[in-house]
Amino acid sequence: MARTVTTQRKVIVTAIAWTIAIAIFFPILWTFLTSFKTEADAIATPPKFLFFNWTTENYTTVQGRSNYFLHFWNSVIISVGSTVAALIIAIPAAWSMAFVPGKRTKDILMWMLSTKMMPAVGVLVPIYLLFRDTGLLDTRTGLVIVLTLMNLPIVVWMLYTYFKEIPGEILEAARMDGANLTREIIYVLTPMAVPGIASTLLLNIILAWNEAFWTLNLTASKSAPLTQFIASYSSPEGLFYAKLSAASMMAIAPIIVLGWFSQKQLVRGLTFGAVK
């Protein structure tokens, strides 16, 4: 930009922006700090911000008392499993819609989007009963199935908008050079499609990790992912702020880090390409 900005103005803007940003981030920071306190320090008045006896005992207690890693592992399997399954189904579909669009491609895309608009509560009862009758309640398989189907429209859409940006001429050139369909996919398309697929993968893992309607309603204990595990802290006995904080930090830290990497894709994915 050609406009010059005075240093004074920049300093003022910086001060305001940092203050607001830290205020917005504060609940996460506070949870982080509390997770290293003793339970007595966690509810001390006045609150202790930095000067307390730092301890990691909450983290070991959380694992010891409620087998945190089982739930962490459930979250990993459910989010990664449903994402990979959705990609396997969606990649061919998005590929053909982007490169061999037919008359109805647009209608199919819009229809897929419309399935995403259906509120989950509208199908809660039948899914619950189907799962109960087929023994899928409280299983990781059941949740993988539901989350795969739930996120499939977003995955198809994201991949479609990425594939659309791959120039079709390159494919034609490859075809003229005598590449058949298999070679075309392996040598020409895949390298160009990998960044888009990776972004889709990342965003979808985040969405599945944080999904908190089906995971709360369809699991109880053994297949409960972290969303359900944390919800069990809503009716605790005794002092528990520090332990709640430790459990929360372990549940959100990995996904916040992934999320920071996927900021740009987030916009495209969640607006179905309407804002880029």
Binding site: I24, M117, G122, A231, S234, G259, V267, V275
Partner: protein
């Protein structure tokens, strides 16, 4: 360009996705519609009989229905107001030159990645708790009586929690839109003597209108189904003070085992969401033309 063979291959590649999504949409929804016309309670197995519109009648005359509808709308509109206005202001701020812009952005976006059960419990216990919460301490320090957020103003408290989660989303999308604004256009306006206020109202705001509409519509879809935040903070209470439609249907079908009534409620929720969806689909469809 496409040959007959590649067309056929294309159709073959689409079909798994289409068939699966079709089944996912039509089978459970069909079942919900069917159940909604039955007297069907899980506590009375085998006692299903046809009920006509009885369930709908009960659902609409349930003393919890109108409060739930009202709460749903309040929740959606409250969160939308905070996140859209806040998002526009924040986006304008973050678009300014400053030191450490990348870090500020990262801090502002973080709440969006916090799972709903975590954010609800952290806010409920560590901030809004009238005894040990941080807000209570601030109130006492300033000489006020601590305010019991979740008992005295449950819906308002939930709006705050949900708004905290969605403000980053609105900000991020509006910021992305703002950054795509042609800076030459702004400079030209400035040279023509347009001040910052008129630049905002005549150039930036119209440019943001599209993104803001998308933000509002997408958030509405998600906000109509807020569930986890209510479940872990208030359980819909006290009374029905923070019960929204989603929570009402959940409690009727999975807590009171009334499948028929819950299904009728589910269908009402679907219809409500579809009214919003139609507008959203039009917006996105228009974008697809180009």
């Amino acid at each position: 360009m496409a040959t007959q063979a590649s067309r056929a291959a294309g159709r073959l590649m689409i079909s798994p996705a289409v068939i699966l999504l079709f089944l996912w949409m039509i089978v459970p929804l069909g079942m919900t519609i069917w159940f909604s016309f039955l007297r069907y309670n899980l506590l009375i197995p085998g006692g299903e009989t046809f009920a006509g519109f009885e369930n709908y009648h009960y659902f609409f005359t349930d003393p919890n229905f109108w409060p739930a509808l009202w709460n749903t709308l309040t929740l959606v509109l409250g969160v939308l107001l905070i996140t859209t206005v806040g998002g526009i202001l924040l986006a304008l701020l973050l678009d300014q030159p400053m030191f450490g812009q990348g870090i500020v952005r990262v801090l502002v976006i973080a709440p969006f990645f916090v799972m709903p059960t975590v954010s609800a419990l952290v806010w409920k216990n560590m901030f809004m708790n009238p005894v040990n919460g941080l807000f209570a301490w601030i109130a006492r320090t300033l000489g006020f009586a601590p305010f019991d957020f979740l008992s005295a103003a449950p819906l308002f408290s939930i709006i705050l929690i949900v708004a905290w989660q969605w403000l980053p989303f609105a900000t991020l999308i509006l910021l992305t839109a703002l950054q795509s604004l042609d800076s030459e256009q702004l400079e030209a306006a400035e040279m023509d003597g347009a001040g910052p206020v008129s630049r905002f109202f005549y150039i930036m705001l119209p440019h943001l209108a599209r993104a803001a509409t998308v933000v509002i519509l997408i958030q509405t879809i998600f906000l109509l189904s807020v569930f986890a935040e209510i479940l872990v903070t208030t359980n819909g209470g006290p009374g029905n003070a923070s019960t929204n439609l989603t929570y009402l249907v959940y409690s009727q079908s999975l807590l009171q085992y009334d499948v028929g009534l819950g299904s009728a409620g589910g269908i009402v929720a679907v219809i409500l969401a579809n009214i919003v969806a139609i507008f959203l689909m039009r917006m996105i469809g228009k974008n697809l033309e180009t």
